[in-house]
Symmetry: C2
Subunit: 296 residues, 2 copies
């Protein structure tokens, strides 16, 4: 199976798993409208790249796909909640996402706030559930790291920095910090969570963290390059948005050439970190190549 086939295969499994979890069977008597909004904001597409990382990092330690779906789906719930809240009028004020109305447009602002809150909460319900891993120490560790990755020193903190960025002059270190928090933290978590599920050693977890950090930075840099260079008809979304918004990115700071070189360095760093997993790391190698080459 090629990398892309595997990515699609996992994505459809994650989709089905989220579809099962986001139901009254699993969650109890959630009001219809709230559940509809949560499902609208979560189901129906997406590459499910973060769950892919959980599944493939766990696979390094012999964990079968179905045993990694809970942790992967919990991470995807966090990612989706962040998009629902980020799209709100008080935040980025976006009316469209993936070509259809955002949650607050399809429902209303209050419902979108509550749907985001509930998706965030569901993530921790899934993680703590016995079906995530038989060892409660694993479930507690997954929950602790997920909270750290998505909290004030992670994703939510990164969104705060992003909100405060317009009009400020950010240096390279500031931009790296912002991106490592806003985008990188959940990508790193995906890699580390797989190791936690597989009860990896400290050294192995550290290697996965190094891989995830480099991958996350590459992910964001590739995105910035696409925004600066991409053809909107190929990328499938408006390009040049960062410049228009006055957002400092590494691309605007370093220039295109240096940014491309940096991207290759990050890829090399990510691949280097996989050394302890030689021979069974094809999909994580593929993920690094995919991120660097992404044309979506």
């Amino acid at each position: 199976m090629t990398f892309t086939e595997r990515l699609e295969d996992h994505a459809s499994r994650v989709e089905r798993h989220l579809d099962e979890w986001l139901s009254t069977d699993k969650l109890g008597a959630v009001p219809d409208r709230l559940l509809d909004a949560m499902r609208y904001g979560t189901l129906g597409g997406g590459k499910r790249f973060r769950p892919f990382l959980v599944i493939e990092s766990a696979a390094l330690f012999g964990v079968p796909v179905e045993k990694a779906l809970n942790a992967g789906s919990a991470l995807e719930c966090i990612h989706c909640y962040s998009l629902v809240h980020d799209d709100l009028p008080a935040m980025d004020n976006d009316d469209l996402r993936r070509g259809r109305p955002t949650v607050h447009k399809a429902f209303d602002d209050a419902t979108a706030i509550l749907a985001g809150d509930t998706l965030l909460t569901v993530a921790f319900e899934i993680i703590a559930h016995e079906s995530t891993h038989p060892n409660p120490a694993v479930r507690a560790a997954l929950g602790l790291e997920l909270a750290r990755a998505s909290g004030g020193a992670g994703m939510a903190g990164g969104q705060m920095l992003d909100l405060m960025a317009p009009g400020k002059t950010l240096g390279e270190a500031d931009i790296r910090t912002l991106q490592a928090m806003k985008t990188g933290a959940l990508i790193t978590y995906g890699c580390v969570a797989g190791g936690i599920l597989g009860e990896a050693s400290k050294a192995e977890l550290a290697a996965l963290k190094t891989y995830g950090d480099a991958l996350g930075a590459a992910f964001q840099l590739a995105d910035d390059l696409l925004d600066a260079e991409g053809d909107a008809s190929v990328v499938g979304k408006a390009t040049g948005k960062d410049q228009e918004a006055g957002k400092g990115t590494l691309v605007s700071l370093l220039g295109l050439e240096a940014a491309h070189a940096k991207l290759q360095n990050l890829k090399a760093e990510a691949l280097g970190a996989l050394a302890p997993f030689k021979g069974r790391d094809a999909m994580l190698v593929g993920a690094a190549e995919f991120v660097v080459a992404r044309k979506f």
Copy 2:
């Protein structure tokens, strides 16, 4: 120590504990503005009644106060996040809480959304942290139940029902369900969490749940009675708000006399559930009396 002295004593311990947790020492590099908003929305008062329930339920099983502060503080973070989001213009649109500007007024809407999200996330970070309980099975159980109590079939779901209520004719069962979710679930969690911390038996946990359910229903009914009968100068907030908002409450449905009788029944039910803890339940008895008599 009287009940009120104990309530105040625990409240100041919880305040100090939250003050410690809501810091970069504990949470890492949270951006200043975000941390300020989280602290503003959490610190500086409140009866801390939910943490009190955690502490006193845990005390039934010999758990010292300091060992219950994490679980109690996590619950308080959930309660505070819900207030921050509930006050937003898209939700209840309140400018004042406890006599000072709400978080979105003191900061801005986007910061309030992120501060609420982060407080919600911090709750699960605290719960999963080793210092909450040495047994990871206890931490995982606390996290699972907290997610259920605060999620779509709990508090957040109750807020959704509340949002959809105006203009609808709710029957007694509908109102009970709404209140049990919106207000009751976190109160019940407080009681059950103490039992989980104390590694209580299933029968003991069931008794705490029965107590908590009755206490939560009494809490809301007493609130509704205050709103209908209370003197604003005594209550310290506007009264008659429910009627003005066209909100159906059990008081408007049953009438004052029947509502008072119902309140006494709920108190009796709560006290009855404490039978297994006879001789060491003075503070939980006090809590039931406090809730029924409350004049705040």
